[in-house]
């Protein structure tokens, strides 16, 4: 099987599965739908394993659009980066499919759920394989759509409904930036959208491409626009508000989408087009800054969360911040490496948290757990392995990748290194806290008291993932899985970086042990962190002031743009304009004729007197 054919299979199988379930799901029944979905995921996994190690390839599946200067194809690019990512996506995807068989056993709409999963797999592989921006953007949108469907799976729950809307809308803001960035590149390169062609156009090799000679600000606009897309999808500040809320979806979905794959799509895309980012100094600084800020910011918020899934969600934000920072520091390979190790241990942690929640009868507050280490030993053990990898305990996968990023920060920018190191300390602290509170001490609620181990179909993936969480950092493993291992150039300061990162782990874990061992309630009470820096409240206050003054204006949108200044402020302005425009539409004919007459005079005035003549 050539790698081109393999790519086509991996892309099209989930599509067929989704289509089949959509059309015939109701007729053939839930069981068949499940079989098809899981079967297609398994087959995809097998195929993508088979592609590991084959030669690089590229090809066009179908020519898609050909209007004027716009040429867009469904085409593949198969190289080390995409093969590695494909492995992660199909592997985690398969695990989640299998895990969902157990977790969603009693759900009423399993057909829809598995259809959406297949749809998601299709969109995600599309992003991974894309060889041009048009295809990338299309699948980008599809990922957003299927994520919307999955988060809102339990749409009877108002929180789930709200969360899915929030995710969708926040992502759209990023996507518009993304689109502008793509179109700017397209315009500046005189009609190119393919990654290879753009790279050539930018490099100014044998024939100096139009992008090479484009003014710097154009490239900055393009790079920042593209980064906007990643900000939305990878939940970087200030568009991060959707990710924690997205935990309202089913836990396997949180694991699949919001830990390992979808959120990583932003990082994957940035690495794929790093040549564009490298062309703009400003964009690089911005990206590194936003990444570092998000890493620290999210870690601080994670310190005071009590919901086990939210802790993991903020930790995901923080780790994504690391990866984005790496991209901004021109260490994309380190970012991809961390993406790859993170995918395993974060999926492990999420599935582990799912098992804990399952064990405690849908209890998610860690303060109502406790003593689980004896009742659910397998879950406990695997969770600890995941935690250790995330903290970066030497010898586990997370240690290697995190250290690479810290190293990159150390070489490039002092204060980013400080922030990253402090983040590492915090990570160690809040994860230790989570483990200590949830698994040790005595049971603090009836549910925790009656906890029991999850069935094998749920624990088996945990055990499998633990192996990856331990071993995936080592060369014999990562090389085989085509992970992007950064060049091991241990230059000056290598030992300092290593020392700092180990110290951070030790201090963080020690602090947590000291503070939380045997406690029944949180001795720390940092309201600022617990309330997520009051961002929602700050947003609310600002909007409130804005609203009070224009109280009669803003009435319709609160329900949808639930919070997030980014979404709300433009919305309020839009509302004001909309209401004013609506007021003209008074229904009075005299008003209309006057408006038409005034418009006429305005038109004449503009054309004849104002607009420039030449």
């Amino acid at each position: 099987m050539t790698s081109y054919n393999a790519a086509s299979v991996v892309l099209l199988l989930p599509l067929l599965s989704a289509f089949f379930i959509l059309v015939l799901g109701r007729t053939v029944g839930t069981t068949v739908s499940k079989m098809i979905s899981v079967g297609s995921a398994a087959l995809c996994f097998v195929v993508s394993v088979a592609t590991l190690g084959v030669t690089n390839d590229s090809g066009v599946l179908v020519s898609f659009l050909n209007v004027g200067k716009l040429h867009a194809d469904i085409g593949f690019i198969i190289d080390q980066q995409s093969r590695g990512m494909l492995f992660i996506v199909t592997f985690i995807g398969l695990l989640v499919h299998v895990y969902s068989l157990g977790y969603m056993k009693e759900d009423k709409a399993q057909s829809r759920y598995f259809g959406s999963l297949s749809m998601f797999m299709f969109s995600m592989t599309g992003i991974v394989l894309a060889d041009n921006f048009a295809m990338m953007f299309m699948f980008w949108e599809l990922v957003g759509l299927s994520s919307y469907l999955l988060i809102g799976h339990w749409f009877e729950k108002p929180e789930a409904c709200e969360a899915s809307k929030k995710a969708f809308l926040t992502n759209r803001i990023g996507d518009f930036g993304f689109m502008i960035g793509i179109l700017t590149l397209w315009a500046a390169s005189n009609g190119e959208l393919g990654f290879a062609q753009l790279r050539e156009s930018l490099s100014g090799g044998s024939v100096s491409g139009p992008l090479h000679s484009a003014p710097a600000w154009v490239l900055t606009v393009a790079a920042i626009g593209i980064f906007m897309g990643a900000v939305g999808k990878s939940a970087q500040a200030p568009l991060h508000v959707w990710l924690p809320d997205a935990m309202e979806g089913p836990t396997p979905v949180s694991a699949l989408i919001h830990a390992a794959t979808m959120v990583a799509a932003g990082v994957y895309m940035l690495v794929r087009v790093s040549f564009v980012i490298a062309a703009s100094e400003t964009a690089m600084h911005l990206i590194a800054g936003v990444g570092g800020f998000t890493a620290l910011f999210a870690a601080l918020m994670a310190v005071q969360q009590n919901d086990i899934k939210r802790i993991l969600a903020y930790s995901t934000l923080s780790q994504l911040g690391y990866m984005v920072m790496a991209v901004g520091l021109q260490a994309g390979e380190a970012g991809m490496f961390h993406l790859y190790t993170h995918a395993f241990f974060k999926a492990l942690l999420f599935l582990g948290s799912g098992a804990v929640i399952y064990a405690c009868h849908h209890e998610q507050d860690i303060w109502k757990m406790g003593g689980l280490s004896k009742k659910t030993p397998i879950t406990f053990l695997t969770f600890v392995i995941g935690t250790a990898a995330l903290m970066g305990i030497p010898g586990l996968s997370g240690f290697f990748s995190k250290e690479e990023i810290l190293g990159a920060a150390y070489h490039d920018c002092g204060w980013l290194f400080t922030a990253a190191a402090f983040t590492a300390l915090l990570t160690s602290f809040y994860m230790s806290r989570c483990v200590i509170v949830a698994f040790f001490g005595k049971a603090r609620s009836e549910n925790a008291d009656h906890a029991h181990e999850a069935p094998l179909i749920m624990t088996a993936p945990l055990m499998l993932l633990s192996i990856f969480a331990i071993a995936s950092g080592y060369g014999f493993f990562s090389d085989r899985l085509q992970a992007m291992v950064p060049h091991a150039e241990h230059g000056e300061g290598h030992y300092l970086v290593m020392g700092v990162s180990i110290a951070a782990v030790v201090i963080g874990a020690g602090l947590a042990f000291f503070l939380y061992n045997g406690k029944d309630k949180d001795p720390l009470n940092i309201k600022l962190f617990a309330n997520r820096f009051y961002i929602d409240e700050i947003y609310a206050v600002i909007v409130k002031v804005f609203q009070d003054r224009l109280a009669w204006i803003v009435s319709g949108l609160e329900s949808i743009f639930a919070d997030g200044l980014v979404a709300r402020l433009p919305a309020a302005i839009a509302c004001r304009v909309g209401k004013t425009a609506r007021a003209i539409q008074s229904g009075h004919l005299q008003g209309y004729t006057f408006a038409l007459g005034a418009g006429l005079i305005l038109a004449i005035y503009l054309v004849v007197q104002v607009l420039p003549k030449h």
């Binding site: 518009f176 949808i560 004449i604 503009l606």
Partner: protein, 475 residues
């Protein structure tokens, strides 16, 4: 093999014959006239697609047969065909509101007039000079006065008729005044002559600009470009739904053809007023998108929502026109047709089952009829511009045209409009799929409506997935 010219005459003649048939053959089954009209339009469409290229020599001086004209002729025929089907679906509602005889009223004119309107729109597409533009344009407008007020027992329809009448006549006055000044400045009535005179330094630029501003204002009214969009929401909401569909797709498209021709004449090579006209169109586009999108946020009536949506779409088309991308205007039109007609068809089907136009009436639609709910989702998703629907491709091309001309400011405003669109277009979908309590009756959909809905859905998705389809039609 007929020439396009004969096809138009054929349509007009059938229209006249149907009027006579309806008036004099009183024993006629009520279904005969609608089906005859649908059949004639379908036949004309087939003839159009297999037409012969030659047209009588005597008519060539004032009859264009370029690709633009041919595209819009096919477009007008497709629109008329679907509008007639929509009208047939809502037949008894139209009849009920037409006179006190209620549902027994014979409304043959309601099916015959669209044929004449269609012929008029096809003639507009071929206009080469301002006289050939004006006369068919007025044929279309006067017929629409009648159609909008047709269901005169409905206060809404009557009000819409009065408003359309006054504002339409006002725009006609402005249009003629503009034609007069353009003629006065250039000494020519043909687009070619105007383009030639516009590039001559001896032509008085001020006078030409005045004429151009007035002319564009008059045509801007027809397509609903700001600040002349003000009539659209009221008239669209009040008019009988099939007529609204016809106005929003057919009339708007015809308006865009002549607007395209006028703009091409004003912005030809070396034209003195090219910059002004281009900038005026840009400002109009930005304003239109905003004034279409933002008030739509507050709409609770789906029909009125679609009226605002059509304003916003017109804004995108004007934007493409301002960038000189006439192909994109046609493409956008092509993506706009299936989604909009699908939306109006759904409204009519729902109305015949006693479901109103208000947003809240849509609640629980997915339970009552999965097909209609899905069609609604497809239609509105396409209007919003969701990827993999036709609407996305249209919007994408417009954005690309604008960015390639570096109109970033307008693009930013257009993005705001499009983003607002995502809010208000998704509300009907969410409502349709939201659960409702209690029992609800299933909705019946007639076979004709079923087939039409299926065809339109396939059209939306096919163009969205494989846009080359529409492109090949455009060529």
């Amino acid at each position: 093999m007929m020439s396009s010219f004969s096809i138009e005459i054929f349509l007009a003649v059938v229209g006249v014959l149907l009027i006579a048939l309806d008036a004099f053959a009183t024993e006629l089954n009520r279904k005969v006239v609608p089906w005859a009209a649908i059949g004639a339009t379908g036949l004309a469409l087939i003839l159009m697609l297999t037409r012969s290229a030659d047209i009588p020599a005597w008519i060539t001086p004032f009859y264009a047969t370029d690709s633009l004209a041919v595209f819009y002729k096919v477009f007008a025929l497709v629109t008329t065909l679907i509008v007639l089907i929509i009208a047939l679906e809502g037949d008894f509602i139209t009849a009920y509101f037409s006179s006190s005889e209620g549902v027994k009223t014979r409304i043959g004119e309601f099916y015959a007039l669209p044929l004449i309107v269609c012929a008029g729109m096809m003639w507009m597409a071929s206009a080469k000079d301002l006289v050939a533009l004006f006369v068919p344009l007025e044929l279309v407008t006067v017929s629409f006065y009648v159609l909008v007020a047709f269901t005169r027992r409905s206060a809404m329809s009557l009000e819409a008729g009065v408003k359309y009448l006054i504002l339409g006549a006002l725009s006609t006055g402005v249009l003629v005044f503009g034609i007069a000044w353009v003629y006065g400045a250039t000494g020519s009535l043909s687009f070619e002559g105007i383009a030639a005179a516009a590039s001559k330094p001896t032509t008085n630029a001020m006078a030409l600009m005045l004429g151009a501003a007035l002319l564009l204002a008059g045509l801007g009214f027809k397509v609903g470009a700001a600040p002349f969009q003000i009539w659209i929401p009221d008239v669209y909401q009040g008019a009988p739904t099939p007529v609204t569909a016809f106005l929003s797709v057919g009339s708007k498209a015809a308006g865009f053809v002549v607007l395209t021709r006028a703009v091409q004449a004003f912005t030809g090579d070396g034209s003195q007023i090219a910059t002004q006209v281009g900038n005026a169109l840009l400002s109009a586009a930005a304003l239109t998108i905003l004034l279409g999108s933002l008030p739509a946020i507050f709409q609770t009536n789906v029909k009125r929502l679609m009226a605002y949506s059509s304003i916003s779409h017109a804004g995108f088309m004007v934007l493409a026109l301002a960038c000189g991308a006439t192909g994109t205007v046609a493409f956008y039109m092509g993506t706009y047709l299936p989604a909009t007609l699908l939306g109006f068809l759904l409204l009519v089907v729902l109305r015949t089952q006693g479901v109103g136009d208000e947003l809240k009436d849509l609640a629980g639609l997915s339970k009552r009829s999965p097909l209609l709910a899905f069609a609604l989702a497809v239609a509105f998703a396409s209007m919003a511009g969701l990827p993999l629907t036709a609407g996305f491709m249209g919007k994408l091309l417009v954005f690309m045209a604008a960015i390639s001309k570096a109109h970033y400011g307008v693009v930013a405003l257009a993005v705001v409009g499009a983003a607002a669109g995502f809010y208000y277009y998704f509300r009907p979908i969410l409502t349709a799929y939201s659960p409702v309590e209690g029992e609800s009756t299933k909705l019946q959909v007639s076979p004709v409506a079923r087939v039409t809905i299926a065809v339109l859905i396939v059209g939306v998705v096919a163009v969205g997935v494989y846009p080359k389809l529409l492109q090949s039609v455009l060529k």
